[in-house]
């Protein structure tokens, strides 16, 4: 089996070495970066399969790395990994182009699983991210501008609810009598909507949550 090449971007050295130790044998850590500048340079140099990206870093944070790397047309895949579970950070980094968001409390096996999933082009949603998406798409005040992008299908809602309830993809597939591949398709489709939807409510909703 081909190993997945990973770059860890985080400004805490202790945390980087912790993650390195936790990741399974299917993953090869090819490098580390500690700020936005080195991250952008190392990604261009090493072309890893997956970048584990911290949200809060000196020099603009994860969103700045996403903007510069993806803006330059790179196809590198990002998985955001953060201690923050503020809606603003989560939604912000996903809309910036990350293919998933997990919090740092995740254990080694789950993290390995998430990295492999992202490397195959799938999306990784934590329960909390699923909750945020349900919350953000639930408000029905303004009519959607683009109905295809601005609302979730019933099935997508069901899948997100199960993620929020703490179900793994395999358990979701069993619960809904569908294949794991179908679950992945639904989640990827939600991710696409989350990234492309013009619902201006989405960003506003995320920032407003902090200001209550």
């Amino acid at each position: 089996m081909k190993t997945v090449r990973v770059l860890i971007v985080d400004d805490h050295r202790l945390f980087r070495s912790g993650v390195r130790a936790e990741l399974g044998p299917a993953i090869e850590v090819v490098g580390e970066a500690e700020d936005v500048e080195t991250a952008v340079r190392t990604i261009a140099e090493l072309q890893p399969d997956v970048v584990l990206l911290d949200v809060h870093m000196p020099g603009g944070g994860g969103q700045e790395v996403l903007r510069r790397v993806l803006g330059a047309g790179s196809q590198v895949r990002f998985l955001a990994l953060s201690v923050s579970d503020a809606a603003e950070d989560v939604i912000g980094v996903i809309r910036g182009g990350a293919r998933g968001y997990v919090t740092k409390t995740i254990n080694g096996a789950e993290l390995t699983d998430a990295v492999l999933r992202v490397s195959e082009g799938d999306a990784v949603f934590s329960p909390r991210l699923a909750g945020f998406v349900l919350d953000a798409f639930a408000s029905t005040e303004a009519p959607p501008i683009d109905p295809e992008l601005d609302s979730l299908t019933t099935r997508e809602r069901e899948v997100l609810r199960l993620i929020a309830r703490g179900y793994a993809y395999k358990e979701i597939a069993k619960e809904l009598f569908i294949s794991v591949k179908t679950v992945e398709t639904h989640v990827s489709s939600v991710l696409r909507k989350l990234q492309l939807s013009n619902r201006h409510e989405l960003s506003r909703w995320a920032t407003a949550r902090r200001l209550v």
Binding site: P127, R128, A130, G131, L134, D135, R161, A164, G166, V212
Partner: protein, 393 residues
């Protein structure tokens, strides 16, 4: 004020009350300070005026240097005060006529105009008033500038009028020119210095705000985080206690950083978070919560909250699951709450009849309150309890 002297502190600050004032509240404020009837002081001011206008001067000085009581509500126009001002004006006019000051010719009118203008400007300087304008709408801020402009115009017109009346305008012209040149020159010289001073002040202000913020963060970190770290070091050999301490500190810090300030007893989501936090602390098992939407608590939802707590307790005590997931969704017509663990699970029929937990505290309670509970479990499969309640409000 004077009706209730016991309520005033030992050395109250002299202020001008807004309620019951006649002119500007000076007499009333001073009376409250001296614990006298305001009428006595008002009379004193009027009588002192007979002594070369000493009363007016004293009144004006006190008016300038005491701040008015801060208004806690929008007061509207005080017609009693307007009437009082009118009366004072009338008295002044009569006095002027009687003493012949009015006969002094046109010169007095510019003085009067200038006086009114400066009065308007002085009102601007009142800190209480300024604060009110700053905190209210933009429209009122603009109104402030209009007032200031009007006051300035009246003063200038008064000054020019006075000079014109004295036939000094032509001479003053050259004088003014000279003054303008000198003032302009000084302004040019001083401008860079003033600008840097202004910038320095601004910098100092932001610095102070930043320092206050830092102090607040430091205080919080000290009170909670450092305290917990000390406790963790002391309990280093008790891994369960260490985990519990770390979790509860993490939760607290997260709430402080990211959660909107909520009253734990007002909304369902906040109440569920609080209950989960309490049970997490009590049993040392992490409880992950995801909430979608929120609503006010009512009697039915309090029942749901109790059932949810029981479900969390069961999961924490018996399931041996490393983590418990709680998911709360509030929809327009229904509230759904899931408590899920990945522990050892059980067979519902095997639970003895006399065990109150699931049957009474969860299912029974939900049904009594018009809701429903569903338990999904099997040995080795974990347990999920779903609670539903229709929303009445």
């Amino acid at each position: 004020m004077s009706e209730n002297p016991d309520a005033t502190p030992a050395f109250p600050k002299l202020t001008r009350p807004l309620d019951g004032r006649v002119v500007a509240g000076v007499a009333q404020g001073a009376a409250a300070q001296l614990r006298l009837d305001p009428v006595v002081l008002r009379l004193a001011f009027v009588l002192l005026t007979a002594l070369n206008g000493l009363g007016i001067v004293a009144y004006a000085a006190l008016w300038m240097f005491t701040s008015s009581e801060t208004a806690d509500r929008d007061r509207g126009r005080d017609w009693g005060q307007v009437a009082a001002y009118g009366l004072v004006g009338l008295v002044l006019a009569v006095v002027a006529l009687l003493t012949g000051a009015a006969a002094g010719g046109v010169a007095t009118w510019p003085i009067a105009v200038g006086g009114i203008g400066s009065l308007i400007m002085w009102q601007q300087a009142d800190p209480g008033r300024r604060q009110r304008w700053m905190t209210t709408t933009v429209g009122q801020v603009r109104q402030k500038w209009v007032r200031a402009g009007l006051g300035l115009l009246l003063v200038v017109v008064g000054a020019i009028g006075f000079l014109a009346a004295q036939d000094q305008l032509a001479q003053a012209g050259t004088g003014l020119m000279f003054t303008a040149v000198v003032v302009g020159g000084i302004a040019l010289i001083a401008a860079p210095w003033l600008a840097s001073l202004w910038k320095e002040l601004q910098k100092e202000r932001t610095e102070r705000i930043r320092q206050e913020e830092r102090a607040e963060v430091a205080a919080h970190v000290h009170d909670s985080v450092l305290h917990t770290l000390t406790l963790i070091q002391r309990n280093a050999n008790d891994s369960r206690e260490v985990l519990r301490l770390a979790r509860s500190q993490e939760r607290e810090l997260r709430n402080w950083l990211y959660q909107p300030r909520q009253d734990a007893d007002a909304t369902l989501a906040a109440a569920v978070r609080r209950v989960a936090a309490e049970e997490e602390d009590a049993h040392g098992v992490p409880i992950e919560i995801v909430c979608v939407g929120d609503c006010e608590l009512d009697e039915q939802l309090v029942a749901l909250l109790h059932a949810a707590r029981q479900a969390m307790v069961n999961a924490a005590k018996y399931s041996e699951s490393p983590v418990i997931s709680v998911y709360l969704e509030i929809e327009p017509d229904e509230v759904t709450l899931f408590v899920r663990d990945r522990g050892k699970g059980f067979t519902l029929d095997d639970v003895p009849e006399d065990r109150m937990g699931i049957r009474q505290s969860i299912i029974g309670r939900m049904e009594r309150n018009g809701g429903g509970a569903r338990v999904k479990t099997a040995p080795g499969e974990g347990t999920e309890i779903m609670l539903t309640m229709k929303r009445t409000t």
